[in-house]
Symmetry: C2
Subunit: 361 residues, 2 copies
């Protein structure tokens, strides 16, 4: 990936302009790349297994493609990567915009690489699309990490639904693992339910926060605290340090209120300054400690199996629903029944029977 | 109901004895009642609308019945009650066993009746069945309330699934409202997801707690605190009073940590001693205040519409799933695919495709 890196920012496109005056050069290159004569699938697979990043990148593009002809290829690639996958540790990272996720990932990623790890950085962003400039946006944000040979940074797949984006990310994880990446960092941008999706595809979930002026816990999305295996208070430096220490105490107290985790792990709050590279190795120590704990008590393996089952059932159920509601007769009747419900002329159960009888006819 | 009340406890059956030596007389009466020649549906409906509790009781039995012949009757009864329903306030009450739910409901119910209200008490208990003795158990627990002419106490419908039990309770609410009950209290026994079910069929959700030895918040089920519109610390009397006051402070602080509610209502913690009848009218003041707030800001009407929609979609989706997984070929293939998943020979998405292709063939 380093070869394709330019100093031009991918973010220079004007938002809301459907026909921009100048096309971003990076995007043009990316689009041209998509049109290139495809490499043989076998070549791509052996490329991935021999840790060739260009092959990995091209294979991910095939997985992300919605074109019919790519779907059979994607299937073949995944099938061949599967026996070599599942050997990494997968870390989810979330936090509101401005909390310093990119800077943190950069510092954290460089530390891991200095310890001999190979680090892949993926993003789940259901709101991403070319026009919003995020296709190459993430790469240019992590200017140092992108230069590392043992780093692979891939922005979010685009897609209409979180489910679609999440599926592509999960498949990308398999490919990255087959390509020898042993730490997968998955960033969520905090849109919609993306945290839940990322939580259900990672082993460890990290919540990044800033110290504010008291009331630290206000404004945290429902359920996020419960998912966190660790809370990191970033920008804990200079004048911020005192507030950060207070925030740490408050978060620790709040974490204490939740029921014990199934993993047997007690979530920890830590301070860091990603930009000054302070506190990063302590975070890695805690995470390493987590993996020792859950690998020895069997929770690691258990959770991965449960996650697979979750995604299997989730995929089935969301397809059953989407197929049902896509039916034109159902759509029309649903509208009618919702109106009747609002006027108290039917019950939810009676209305459901009516709708289900359409399917069964 | 008062007419059928006896001093014999319905709880005297021996647990785990499949052929008890003596049948509980209350249960015998109940079972005989089920076999009685059915009253004409029209008669039952006019009975309900003229606030006859015997007719109401008999109609609920029809709704709870799984017999085919009762289902058409149930439909007719509900349809005729619907135009007269929806005029009550619905209050959900939860708390662990031993917290004093029955005593609280008795004190609270009697206060409401003294203010001219008609009070129906329902229970959602997916674990209930005749052999567990809960068919008449609740009635005998509320010895004073059951004597009141303006009280109607109906234990949980029995059923295999929470969905089934919840459906019957929701339909029972409609009948009670048509029979002129203007306050519906719905107790959950805290089994499985019954709190969520009760929360989604009530306007106000009340969590009963006891003061303990510090660490009050430990052991509260995930999500319950977020659902509560008020937390009541019961048994706040005598030597317990000091601990109860401390618990109140801690709960208030914890409630403050949650994001603001859509209703615009800030949940409140209150003390009471149900057995000594202390603090009950203060609780009713708070609840009355809630209803004033949400009726004037439109949230009351909005929430009821959303709840109807929720139950409609919920019913459809659970039926789609249960029909899919009931298919014998699907069952067999699911087992096979789960095994392949555990051995990393497939992905959740690939496995889902295989299973969905069965349905579409």
């Amino acid at each position: 990936m380093a070869a394709t890196k330019k100093n031009t920012s991918a973010l220079n496109e004007k938002e809301g302009v459907s026909q921009p005056e100048t096309l971003n050069k990076e995007i043009v290159k990316h689009l041209k790349n998509l049109k290139k004569k495809p490499q043989a699938v076998g070549e791509l697979i052996s490329g991935i297994l021999s840790q060739n990043q260009a092959a990995l990148s091209r294979a991910i593009t095939i997985i992300e493609s919605t074109a019919q002809k790519h779907q059979q290829q994607a299937k073949e690639i995944i099938e061949n990567c599967l026996p070599h996958a599942n050997k990494s540790i997968r870390i989810g990272i979330t936090g509101v915009p401005g909390v310093g996720k990119s800077t943190f990932i950069e510092s954290f990623g460089k530390l891991l690489i200095s310890e001999g790890k190979k680090v892949a950085v993926l993003t789940v962003d259901p709101s991403s699309s070319i026009s919003k400039g995020s296709i190459l946006g993430d790469k240019t944000r992590m200017e140092d990490l992108v230069k590392e040979e043992n780093a692979f940074i891939r922005p979010s797949a685009s897609g209409d639904t979180l489910g679609g984006v999440a599926r592509k990310t999960r498949e990308t994880i398999i490919l990255c693992e087959a390509a020898g990446f042993d730490v997968i960092l998955i960033e969520t941008v905090g849109v919609g339910q993306s945290e839940t999706a990322v939580h259900s595809m990672t082993d460890f979930f990290l919540l990044l926060k800033l110290a504010g002026a008291g009331d630290e816990l206000q404004g945290i999305k429902r359920g996020i605290m419960e998912m966190a295996d660790s809370i990191i208070i970033n920008k804990a430096d200079g004048e911020n340090l005192k507030a950060a220490k207070l925030a740490k105490t408050e978060f620790n107290r709040a974490l204490h209120l939740y029921p014990a985790k199934e993993s047997g792990w007690a979530p920890k709050t830590l301070l860091c300054s990603a930009i000054k590279n302070e506190g990063i190795s302590e975070i890695w120590d805690v995470i390493s400690n987590y993996f020792e704990t859950v690998k020895s008590n069997g929770y690691f393996q258990y959770k991965r199996k449960e996650q697979n089952k979750f995604w299997l059932l989730q995929t089935i159920e969301s397809r059953l629903k989407s197929e049902f509601y896509a039916n034109a007769t159902v759509k029309k009747e649903l509208e009618k029944q919702l109106k009747a419900l609002n006027e108290n002329k039917t019950t939810p159960f009676e209305a459901a029977e009516k709708l289900l009888s359409i399917k069964n006819n």
